[in-house]
Each structure stands twice: as C-alpha cells, then as structure tokens.
Subunit: 357 residues, 2 copies
C-alpha cells in the first residue's frame, strides 16, 4: 500500500490543466453512470440521524463554561466503474467546531480486493470534486452570458466553487471583465467580510447582499453552499414570487435527509430540474420527498446530469441560442461516489507518473 500526504495531493490538483481535465472526466463519468456502468453503494453517514451523534469520550467542548455538542459527521461513499481496475472508498468528515475537515480516499484493486493507495487528502479532494461538478453544471446549464455570479454561504465550499469557476469554465470571459461580479449572501457579518476580502484578492468585484433573494434578481448563476435545514433562497414574498428567468441555481449544500436550501416554490417554478443522481436527490438532496414530484413546472421531473451530458437538447451554455436561453434551471449536487472514483483515480495515476518520472 502506498500512502500519499495532502501536500503531494495538493501539488497534483493545482498543477496545469488538472481541474479542466477533471471537469471533462466527470462529464464522461456521469454519462457512464447514465448507461449503468457505474455502481454506487448506499451512503454511510456516521454521527448524524438516524444514527447517534458523535459523542465519544472527550467529544464535548467546554468553552467559557458552556458545553457544546458537535455537529460533526462522517460520510462514507463507495463505488466503481465496471471498466476500471479499481474501486474507491471515500471517507470525508466535517462539521467539527474548531477543526478543519478531514478524510481520505482509498483506491482498491477489483482484481484482488487489495488496498493499493491511500490518499490522505483531509477532505481536499471532496471539496474539489464537488466544485468541479458545479463548474460542469455551469458549462452545460448556465445562461450563455453570465455577468454576475451569486453565492449563498461563505464556508469552505463557497471558496472552492467560485475559484473553480474562475479558473475553468468562466475563465474565458476574462477579456471583457464581464464575469468578475460576485454577489455574496451570508448570515454572519464577520465571516462574510472575510470571504469578500478573499474573493477580492482573487480578482472578483464583490458586493454583499443584505437579503438572499437579491441574488435571484441580479445573477445568472447562483451557487448555494449552506448546511441549511430551512429554505434560504426564494422565501421573500411579493416581487420574488415572480418566476426567475435566465438563471441557473446550483445547490451543493443539501446532502443529507432534512437539509434543503431552496423554497419549494422555487423548485416548482423551474423549467428544468437536474440532479447528479436523481434517486439520491429524492432522499438526501434538494429534491427531497414531495419536492421531487413537484420539481419542474413543465412536468419534466428530475433529469440526471448524465442525460444532460448526452443530450445536447437539454444543454444550454454555448450550445444553443434562441427560445430556451432564458430558462430557469436548478441543478442539485448531493454528491456521488463516482466523483470520488474519478478524482481518486486521476490523482493516483498522476502520483504514480510523477514517481516513475
């Protein structure tokens, strides 16, 4: 078994065309998933309902006399492509009050069951593969001309999403400066300011919204990245009840039963609802339970990302003009093991190549 440290992994994922290659590989992966060539095991979520919270000895924090319980959880996702020599088990942990995320990706051989490589990524690869699916959705489903990106939430994934967009699918807009506008909404003023400062350093022209639904009015792409259990977006009365147009909302926050970011009304108003894995979105994504059946006003239901990759009719950005270009599309990413397989295999192959060279 080879063990790779996060520093080695960081070098690989920040090098050259890795991120663009990843987006392409994910598109291929989701198409294979659509063809039934990827097997995903049921997700294990530890530390969250219906299992007990993590509460082991020493797991409570006493700060200033109070006792705080963790919101920590760990997600185990496993799967394999039929035509790959590998299967991958991914462990990602987060939600600890004073610690960073952690985790690892484990590459096993289908041929022998042996653990071949251990990528001690501390959750980095999960952040990147999630951001890469956001970028892929933007490429396939965002309006042709994005002049303002909105982001809800100011945590780690809000950083990865925006940086990945800038570096890949929105990079081409650099010339006219059109897509340097970023409109941010977050609940904690201090954290919003820190986030805005960081994004300004990255070259964004950042504004802060005082209410989330302002993003629906001003942006052509909105990415939601919160762990909310009550809708954040589409909750204002009056004007915001008007159906948005010329908009893609990408939801990456909802990844467990009970977590939702959009008002049901918004889900109903969409012209097209897409999910990385519709079946999973029904249980632990943005289209949970009765929202699944209510998705998309046209009665189109929830379409898989793999089908969008395969079917040019469903895509938008750069592919079609005309009538459908003002559509309101929602994409939900609840996270699929295939993303872990794709990135783990790419990183492992790159690491092997470096060692060989």
């Amino acid at each position: 078994m080879k063990v790779y440290a996060v520093s080695e992994i960081e070098q690989v994922v920040s090098a050259g065309d890795f991120q663009s290659d990843l987006i392409r590989a994910l598109a291929d992966g989701f198409e294979a998933f659509e063809r039934g060539e990827f097997a995903a095991a049921p997700v294990q979520t530890l530390g969250a309902p219906p299992l007990a919270p993590f509460g082991g000895a020493g797991c409570y924090v006493d700060e200033g006399g109070g006792t705080e319980e963790y919101a920590a959880q760990t997600c185990v996702k496993s799967g394999y492509f039929r035509d790959s020599p590998y299967y991958v088990i991914k462990v990602a942990s987060g939600g600890y009050p004073w610690k960073d995320n952690s985790g690892c990706m484990q590459v096993y051989l289908q041929k022998t069951g042996k653990l071949e490589a251990m990528l001690l990524d501390d959750g980095l690869l999960t952040e990147i593969r999630t951001a890469a699916v956001g970028a892929l959705a933007c490429q396939l489903l965002a309006p042709k001309r994005v002049t303002c990106v909105g982001v809800v939430g100011v945590g780690v994934q809000a950083r990865y999403q925006v940086r990945m967009l800038r570096r890949t699918v929105l990079a081409g807009d650099d010339g006219d400066g059109a897509c340097r506008k970023l409109l941010v909404y977050g609940r904690n003023g201090d954290r919003v300011r820190t986030y805005a400062d960081e994004m300004r350093e990255d070259g964004w022209d950042v504004s802060v919204a005082d209410r989330p639904d302002l993003l629906l009015e001003r942006c052509q792409l909105v990415v939601t990245t919160t762990p909310a259990r009550e809708p954040v977006l589409g909750t204002s009365t009056g004007g915001a009840a008007v159906k948005p147009k010329n908009l893609l909302i990408t939801c990456v926050g909802s990844d467990a039963p009970g977590k939702v970011e959009l008002a049901t009304r918004l889900v109903q108003q969409a012209d097209l609802c897409v999910a990385d894995w519709p079946e999973q979105s029904r249980v632990r994504g943005e289209f949970q339970n009765e929202r699944y059946d209510a998705a998309a006003s046209g009665g189109g239901g929830v379409v898989s990302l793999g089908r969008v990759v395969r079917d040019a009719e469903l895509r938008r950005r750069n592919d079609s003009g005309g009538d459908d270009d003002d559509r309101f599309v929602i994409f939900d990413s609840s996270g699929v093991a295939l993303q872990d397989c794709v990135i783990a295999e790419m990183v492992y192959e790159a690491l092997k190549k470096k060692e060989g060279g």
Copy 2:
C-alpha cells in the same frame, strides 16, 4: 496515521488471553448494542447484487481456455460505541478464485474525524471476531455437555471457528477428553480430507459425515460456515424431520441477501432463535424474509444476542440445568460492525501498549 502490518496484528491476537478477553468484550458490546449504545451504519456490499459484479479490466481469469467470472465481493461495515473515542470502518474482501481474503480495519477519532490507525489485517480480524461470536454463542447457548462438535463447510472460517472453540469455551473439557470429537461435512472430498488432517493435527478426533443431517443426530453443537444459497442442513426426509433436541446450531455463512444454510423446517422447529442483529438477519442472515416470522416454534421470534447476554433465563450452558437443557437453539451471525469496533480497538490499544513498553 499509524499503519500496522498483518504480522504485528497476528502477534497481538495469538498472544495470551487475547481471545478469551475478546469473547468477554464482545458480550459487553452486544449488551451495549441492546441498550442502544452502539450505532451501526447500513452495510455496503460491493461486487455483489444489487450492485454489479466486479468486472474491471483484468478481472477475468482464463484458465485452460475458459473464462471465469469472480464471485468476489467487498463488505464495508462502519459503526461506533457512543462512549468510545473512536469510530471504525472495516473493509473485508473475499471470494477471489486464486487469492486469499484481504481487507483492513480503520480506526478514526470521533473528536476530529482523523484516521488514527490503519490495521492492514488482510481480513484476519474479521475471521477472528466472527469465530469469537461463535464461541460466545457456544458459551451462552450450547448444551451443558458438548461431546461432539459438527462443522458444515471446510473453508477458512470452519478452521477459525473450531480452533477458537478449542482454545476458549471448550478448553475446559480437556481433562476427560469429552469434547475432542469433530464431525465434518463438506462437498469436495479433497478439501474435506485436507481439513480433517489439519484438525487432527490440532488434536481433534475427526470423522467425516457422508450426509449433512448426520450432524443433527450426533452433535450438540453444529457450526455452518458455507456460502450456500440453498439449504444444506435439515433437508433429509424421514427420520430427520424429527425435531432435534439438545442442540445449538450456529450459522455464520449467511451474510447477504439470498444466502441461507438451514431448511425452513429447522428454523420453524427451534425452541429459541437468536441473532447477533435480528433486524439485519431479516435482510441478510439466516432468518431472511418469511423465515423471520416462522422462526422458533414457541412463537418467541428472533431474540438478540445482547438480550441473551443480559437475561440469564435465556442462557443455557453452565447457567441452568433442568427442563430447558434439551432445547434446540439456532444462533445466526450475519456480522455486525460492533464486532469490528471491539476487535479493532482492542488490537490498536494492545499495539500502542507494546510500542510504549
């Protein structure tokens, strides 16, 4: 992260009282499970239905012109005790036609999510914790006087079960030589002979049965260890339709949907049916589907092992004489993550202690 090789792990598990300590720790663990203090995630089974078989590049064997597909599968079991600092993810693979089992046990901190120790056990700890539960069942549920042990199947687990019994709960019978009789049934004559020779070297007085139901007539403890998908035991007509008495059957083979070793009739005849995890046994154990409701003639249903640990009335061996001593009991082990937690934590603590000393 500390990585431990199988050779280091072997030293720990074969030392001194480790196996007896393990059986006691498992009894405590199952009692805690019964009290709701253990959280077990849904099992991930890769390479087996409903997921695709492993079929990656290079995963087919060509021997003498034929092409053979694997029966290989990988099981991922995860869980944690509420009062432990750890959670454990266990990966165990088997069924490869020309390779040994493989796997690892991963010890993480609930406090930070960090991977603290990687036990590269190649499946060894899964074999041992499974054998230890068989020994615990024998201790709690076998007739007081066992003069002949039966074993169905002659694979790896058939070895571990019998060796663990000899070393622990049946060790006390050494004086009068009463429990040195082993009656074996297997389908493959060559493999049966090899197995019988090995067990003779271990000091057993081994006989080979020409039909499986002979074990029901001659033994007080029968352990079934096959991957059968059709009943092996209790299928003969005529005399064997008589309800067995003074018998414990421990079933360790059935661990996935569709795998069963006992005829439904036997399950119906039992005075008491016990499972390591009744809920799981209903889906992937010996008491699958309609067999669950048919279990135990007295209408007692399927009782958890934890309840048997807690309730002296349900136990038998060494604890009670009199009327219930000729009961026919079936115990099903489909394997619970708590066994992995117990053994992984014990081994890790022992390894740390060795390093410190």
